[in-house]
Amino acid sequence: MKFDQPKYLPGGDHFILVQFGDDASIDLNFMALGLTAALKEDATKGVVDTNPSYNSLIVEYESDDISYADLKIELARLISGLGSVEDLELESRLAYLPAMYLDPWTRDCVADYSEKIAPRDYDPDFVAEVNGFEDAKQLARIHSGTEHWVVAVCSTPGLPLMRALDPRCAITSPKYNPPRTWTTLGAIGVGGLSSSIYTTPGPGGYNLIGRTPVPLWDPQQRLPVFKDRVVLLDAADRVKFVPIGEEEFEYIEARVADGSYEFNITAYQRFSVGAYKKWVASLNQDGRF
């Protein structure tokens, strides 16, 4: 539920959590990202950093520059300036990321977990089943059928937390319990309401359904796209997965390895929340890719 007034919750002496509501309605994330953009635009004195999530935005501040009470006033001012959620328009790049669904590498990762930690079915079969899809291929079709909204970039560097913008492509699935101890780098996972891409080979709990050959962050800033940035995606960007086969995967992998891979990202669109809501309302919810 969206709160009538956002809640301001203190997080110690230099954080404040602004919560717009208490559920996972995507509108709340739009508000959080709208506020992120407004803070940036406003260059509010004392604001150090921000970190958005599903329904909230955490703001780090320097209490020597702004008091907690004044920060709340500033935040309230910016939030009221956002207007209604329908009025929001957000800068939003669209990244086309190649994805090999049902790939051999994440299949091995699931098999390894199954052998060493707890037996489980192949993740895409499992996710397809809990979502009532025909098979794993339809899972791939549905997952690649929507633009995914980057709710936040978080947890580990460059890791995008994403949600399907087309409600007909929403996939929900329980996470691993216990979690994996390692995950294939570049694995595309789904868990809860979200999708993500593993940017480090660390532990993880999402179900693995595919893999991308492209890096989502590059501390060495080796590839051209990372010339001015370390992390590929920002919150409010969108990702569309382009299904590829093994041959194309290897081609892209080789270009990533030799440093010549050219990312396919467009940056000439603004995301209109009002238009989005109209579009969602116009969809036949029974239609499925």
């Binding site: 002496d13 780090e60 809860g192 920002d234």
Partner: protein, 328 residues
């Protein structure tokens, strides 16, 4: 002009380059701030050698490194006592001293506290990453190639003129606990309303033992059970099934993150976001205590207001200045 170097003979236990306040402005890209846990001692060490308080220096944890100076240097050690020796002779803490070219500084295990900070005049000059030299080991970035010191590694140092013989006044140093008990300030929130009154009281009145499964990512605490409010047990399924689950949200640094029944204090290398509640937050003024405590130590939490926490932080900041210096 050759850059003065320090050679790593023994790396110690996860000894890392850090700077203060660490990596800011990259939270939204998934980067926690990193930086020194006990940033009070850290800044004092820098001030002693004439650096800016936030300049890059080394954080030594539990077991310190052995380092060989390739050029003369002015250094200072602050924080936990690791029985440091320079060229075999004991080195005092809280004081700037001169090291000769070729001399070896050797640190042992921490006798008091847990973290010792080594500042070098001119400061460590590794390439900054996203505006900071702090090492973020999980993210493989910052510091020396994104990793703790390694045997044979070389630490580049900038040009700097330090003055030996400067000391931190006794009253301006953090008082490292001798009895392994710590009074840690906490602020309520952001998610205190998920814990019932009894649960909040229990948290504040109980002893909490620091688990060995603690590091710069998080400090795990052992203690009594938590009890929850209606809000935590009666919620929409997207929050998750455990009472401590919520819809993913950003984590403040210092948050006491309740993972099932286990509270974990989120430190400088934490995950930036996740799906557990944070009923309390340790303010930055108490971080030096976290930095100097060791597994098995006992924490008592003391509830303070945000205003009070900010006042304490200002008091510590005030001590991280030239005013805290006296001549030896």
């Amino acid at each position: 002009m050759t850059m003065p170097m320090i050679e790593v003979l023994k790396p110690g236990l996860e000894t890392c380059v850090q700077d203060y306040p660490g990596r800011k402005g990259a939270f939204g890209m998934g980067f926690p701030p990193s930086g020194p846990v006990d940033h009070w001692s850290f800044r004092l060490a820098n001030i002693l050698v004439g650096n800016a308080p936030g300049d890059a220096a080394l954080e030594c944890q539990f077991i310190g490194p052995a380092l060989k100076f390739k050029a003369p240097a002015v250094i200072a050690l602050c924080g936990g006592d690791m029985a440091a020796k320079l060229g075999g002779a004991p080195v005092p803490l809280w004081q700037s001293i001169a090291a000769e070219a070729g001399q070896v500084l050797e640190l042992g295990s921490a006798l008091t506290g847990a973290r010792t900070y080594l500042a070098i005049a001119g400061s460590i000059d590794t390439p900054p990453f996203l505006g900071s030299r702090s090492t973020f080991v999980l993210g493989d970035c910052g510091g020396l190639n994104g990793a703790p010191l390694e045997v044979g590694g070389e630490i580049p140092v900038g040009e700097g003129q330090g003055v030996p013989g400067r000391k931190i006044k006794q009253s301006c140093r953090p008082a490292v606990s001798e009895n392994h008990r710590w009074q840690i300030e906490v602020c309520a929130g952001p998610n205190d309303d998920w814990i019932d009154a009894a649960g909040q009281q229990r948290f504040l009145k109980s002893e909490w033992k620091l688990s060995p499964k603690s590091n710069r990512v998080g400090f795990r605490l052992e203690g009594p059970e938590w009890t929850f409010t209606e809000k935590a047990t009666n919620k929409a399924p997207e929050n998750g099934s455990d009472p401590s689950n919520t819809i993913d949200h950003g984590y403040p640094i210092g948050a006491i993150n309740l993972c099932g029944q286990t509270p974990i204090i989120l430190l400088h290398d934490t995950l930036t976001l996740g799906g557990f509640i944070n009923p309390f937050t340790v303010p930055s003024s108490a971080f030096w205590k976290l930095g100097q405590s060791r597994p098995g130590d006992i924490y008592d939490f003391e509830l303070v207001s945000v205003d009070e926490a900010q006042a304490r932080k200002r008091a510590i900041n005030a001590m991280c200045s030239e005013d805290s210096i006296e001549q030896a």
